[in-house]
Amino acid sequence: MTQYIIRRLAQMIPITFGILTLVFSLIHLVPGDPAVQIAGENARPEDVRQVRHALGLDQPLGRQYISYLTGVLHGDLGRSFQTNESVSVQVRQRYPATIELALGSMLVALLVAFPLGIISAIYRGKWVDNVARFFALLGVSMPSFWFGPLLIIAFAINHPWLPVSGRDEGLKSLILPSLTMGLALSAILTRMIRVSLADELTQLYVTTAIAKGVTRGKAIFRHALKNALIPVITVLALQFGSLLTGAIITEQIFSWPGLGRLLIDSISKRDYPQVQASILVIALTYIFVNFASDLLYGVVDPRIKLE
């Protein structure tokens, strides 16, 4: 296992560097002079110079890159042009909201997918199964930026039951955003659980258990489900990463004060250091979660280590 972890960690290093390099280069992709873009077309030359200096753009590229990397290693991601405070302050403030939203969506997905997936697998080919499959199809085809507003129309405008904006009402505020983001995931999970459990149910050990007098229910829930969950767990962990990017859109719909909203707000204000910091943190969390889910896979399925 240790070897497996070390090997995976070694693969992470060049990827992390690649991502840092990508995020670093973003500001150099700004067409024209980024300092002029930020200071404004009509800014005085000394203001432009000051912006250029604050960004470190007046230094040679190599030195800029090295000072960016050392800064990141020390947790210094730069200063915001809007507030002049360290961009990591905002990132730290917004981070928990995004994680909360991702966890909420995951919970929604599990609550929907488990019963649906299990029922579909047991009654394969029956009408329940067809309904569940239709739901899954709908779930993956429906873009969140349509489903979210539809939920608002249904549960906040036509029936004013739930809050649609912000995060002030605790759990109540979390419901609609989590439903919006959880729908696609629940569709994927339902399919996954259905296929995986249906596969296990055809295995001989299940037949043996039933032949030995175990009830069908017990054979399904005690024996088959346990094995069926192995691939499901890894998919779940992998999908957590995509929830982080899905949050960019969902946070926009529900004015959820997370990293995604911070990113889009900073883009419209051309606050490039804040944009870079938000992107870096989302991307690093994403690859870390994927790394963790790989390890988890190694733990739940010992065969992986042998590769």
């Binding site: 690649g18 973003l26 992709l29 930026f145 349509w146 405008i157 926009q252 994403y286 690859i287």
Partner: protein, 277 residues
Amino acid sequence: MKRFKRFLKNFAFTFGLIVTVALVLAAIAAPLLSPFDPNMQDTSRRLEAPSRDHLLGLDELGRDVLSRILWGSRVSLRVGFSVVIIAAFVGISLGAISGYFGGWIDTIIMRVTDILLAFPGILLAIALVAVLGPSLNNVVLALVVIGWVAYARLVRGQVLKVREMEYVTAAKALGAKSPRVIVLHVLPNVINPVVVMATLGLAGAILSEAALSFLGLGVQPPTPSWGSMLNAGRRYLGEANHLTIFPGAAIMLAVMGLNFLGDGLIDMLDPKYRKDM
């Protein structure tokens, strides 16, 4: 059961084909089909609900929603086809070079794809459009940057397999040069999976364009795009929900149709799956 499944598959494929053809026709014939100029404003009738002369209602500036959806299909397909064609061209070329020559070229190309695959796709697209500025061309560029990787990986894998085949050795022994071998002997073997990938990629690109436009990073007003229509409609969910319902339905229908078509093509073109039919 098997027959029912087969029917369903055929149905899905037919549905996908019909939707796709309708989408392409709508885009081509938008000027003929649209009852109104998509940018013509009638501010005295803004946010008006669907009626007989405006079947899908009017938007926040009093423009005909149906006409804007029809014209919006042009943006969607333009982005979709541009992204798929450019990304496939770049990906196939780099993948073929990478797999055929191996060595340091292969290492460099594959490390780049590793990084791009590790980076969440839509985030990279947002980042690129954020610094390059929002416009149709930059959306295409951003989606190509994240899109070519899949083609490159696919083609490289196939090339590695085909490269060792005897007919390729034979072609080389007869004096065929590398480009000739790649184009005539290697690429025909990868064309089927590429077609499937392109169809599904078209759906993905349309969805991503809509997402970027929804975030205000895509096509800029007054050009009608489904994503930006949804974004504008968000402010009027209470008084004019037709601004949200119809453009969203158009996106979903298009994406669903293309996905069905892609799934159907997998069955037809990929022999590995054919035994299920």
